[in-house]
Subunit: 349 residues, 2 copies
DNA sequence: ATTTGGCACTCTCGGCCGGCGAGTGCTAGT
DNA sequence: ACTAGCACTCGCCGGCCGAGAGTGCCAAAT
């Protein structure tokens, strides 16, 4: 049953490719007559039928009912896609325009950049585009501010060098005056400038607590305040999703319950993130076809994902979610190109 | 054709009410037999039929086909709902729990508060909950910061007294050093403290520009920087939406194209805002039934909205979007209670 | 004058049948 | 090794029928 694409007889490859093409944009089973005509192999329908019978034995095609054309299986898509990945055909989209859009968006904050990228993905593919927002862990500390809102409520604003702003309202045990808070902020800004957020916590715990004695009185409070704040910020990973509606009206997905679960995943985001996380480890483009995703939510979907980052350091993941029946070649190169461009846009910031 | 509910004959009222009740939770036309049995009026089906014929003449009910039960028209819902609004029956939900949740959320920033409220609305009604995020225009200036990210890219962070944080990256004509920027910020913080954002622009334009000469050199730049920033912030109105998926599987809406448009409205938000805006003017609960909304997107929907605010000053709008066929009494009181509680939670902040 | 029972009529819905078309598998012939 | 032919299998569509639900109207009853 397990084969690789290239091990298939020449003719079978050709026919299967045509079958996949046709099925991908018609969505209906394809019969031997059509197949024979579309392939330029000059074969009679009968011959095609024989080949199909072979492919059926290999688990690559199946007939929904005794007598309707064939439909490619997930396995067939898998092999086909794998063969694409070996020799990637690049750039059906004009990278020029993409690049300028992304570069411009990179001028703005990371959130906006992710939004832009997911919009691009969805409008290029007409499926749903997903982009994780770069974790702040990797960014560098730029500035922290404490603003007293009311007694017992302090707004913390943390700025990173990429222009990301995190804010959170914290409720310290003791009330502080704005003056005290400002002193705290100044103190922290002095010490922490240029550190990565990732390292921040350690710094706070170790270095500062060691020197606690030297620090006059309640500046130690500043440290604990900052700890609360950083802790809250560190592990927040968000996702930008665009073009969900594109998935509506695709008939494989149009089952109400299935659609509901899908959209739930888009709003809850949890499941989405865990799916995309798997792309992080893989390098290059990673693809899930149907049940490969593990989650029944995406049973009928195809997912094409890739990570992006700077200097071999992955900072985020992006991808496209569509129906299983997808023009993978197109989508793959779109995802691929976008991830590269996003990386460079991020790098030269 | 135009009537008011109370002008209807007693019996017609009762029957129509039962019809609406029944239709609301079954979604199917209701026949005279059922109607006769459900109403406690002890009438024969035949009599009911006569009444129905009258109601049909008045445009309050109609029969989908020659021989199926009756369905209430939009007009019937309208009159019915109006009659509800006159003598509002309150509180089918325990306001206690709601209040504590909202008060807690009000401790946090406005965005979070709106999220919480829309989640409440949607989970209580099992429809979609919508809450506009209080416009910052009304909030008071608390603090501004300029952080230099790279030459030519300056991050502006504006904090309001409600804990709202607005940030935007601006590209000033000239590059400034961080020191200069800090001086700008200090300068502005001194002058603007406590002003409403709304008034800010005027202040900036008038007062400061008048005294421009007195101000040393490029502090005037600070003003123009701030202007850019405030302008960007002022007119940004966002909306929190929750529970969209609840609308899936409601069969009146399950037409693919209609659903698509609806979800589009939820993501684009533009149309949503303009719909809710109409609730701002009305006081108390405002209701759109079907085509009353104006937009074909919500043709098959019912919308129940109310404004909220502090001290008779409207700061935002919230509402519920569901199918036309909705238990309006329940939904109305939920929306009503929520808007009140949100207002008080906001007030005692 | 209102209400009711009766009756004929209408319309939907589900099941059933039969023909059509598409497509297959197999076999025999090239 | 391919192909032509043939019998067969389904799914789909339209028509038909019967059951069920519900109506409108009329004439009788209260």
């Amino acid at each position: 049953m397990a084969e690789t694409w290239s091990e298939l007889p020449e003719r079978a490859q050709a026919l299967l490719r045509v079958l996949i093409d046709r099925y991908t944009d018609e969505g209906a089973p394809v019969g031997s007559r059509v197949l024979a005509r579309m392939s330029d192999l000059n074969l009679s329908p009968a011959t095609v039928r024989n080949v199909m019978a072979d492919l059926e034995d290999l688990g690559l095609v199946r007939a929904p009912h005794t007598s309707s054309g064939r439909v490619p299986t997930e396995l067939a898509y898998r092999l086909f896609v794998d063969s694409l990945l070996v020799a990637p055909a690049r750039a059906p989209v004009d990278a020029r325009r993409l690049e300028s859009i992304l570069r411009e968006a990179a001028q703005d904050d990371p959130q906006h950049l992710a939004d832009t990228a997911s919009n691009l993905l969805s409008s290029l593919t007409r499926y749903a585009g997903v982009v994780t927002i770069p974790s702040r862990a990797r960014a560098l500390f730029r500035q922290i501010d404490f603003v007293s809102l009311s007694p017992g409520r302090v707004l913390m604003v943390l700025v990173t060098n990429d222009g990301g702003v995190q804010n959170r309202i914290i409720h310290p045990d003791k009330p502080y005056t704005q003056d005290e808070l400002t002193r705290f902020a100044n103190f922290l800004n002095d010490r922490l400038n240029g550190q990565s957020i990732q390292a921040l916590r350690q710094t706070l715990v170790n270095e500062l607590k060691h020197t606690r004695e030297e620090i006059e009185g309640n500046l130690a409070e500043a440290v604990s305040l900052a700890e609360t704040a950083v802790g809250a910020v560190e592990d927040q990973a968000d996702v930008a999703v665009a073009g969900q509606v594109n998935l509506m009206g695709i008939d494989e997905l149009s089952d109400v319950e299935r659609m509901r679960r899908l959209f739930n995943a888009f709003t809850e985001k949890r499941e989405l993130v865990s799916l995309l996380d798997e792309c992080e480890r893989a390098q290059g483009v990673k693809i899930f076809i149907g049940r490969e995703s593990g989650s029944p939510t995406f049973d009928e979907c195809g997912v094409v994902g890739a990570s992006y980052g700077v200097d071999d350091e992955v900072v985020g993941v992006l991808g496209v979610i569509g129906p299983k029946r997808m023009p993978y070649d197109r989508v793959i190169s779109i995802v691929d190109v976008t991830s590269r461009l996003l990386s460079t846009a991020l790098a030269r910031q």
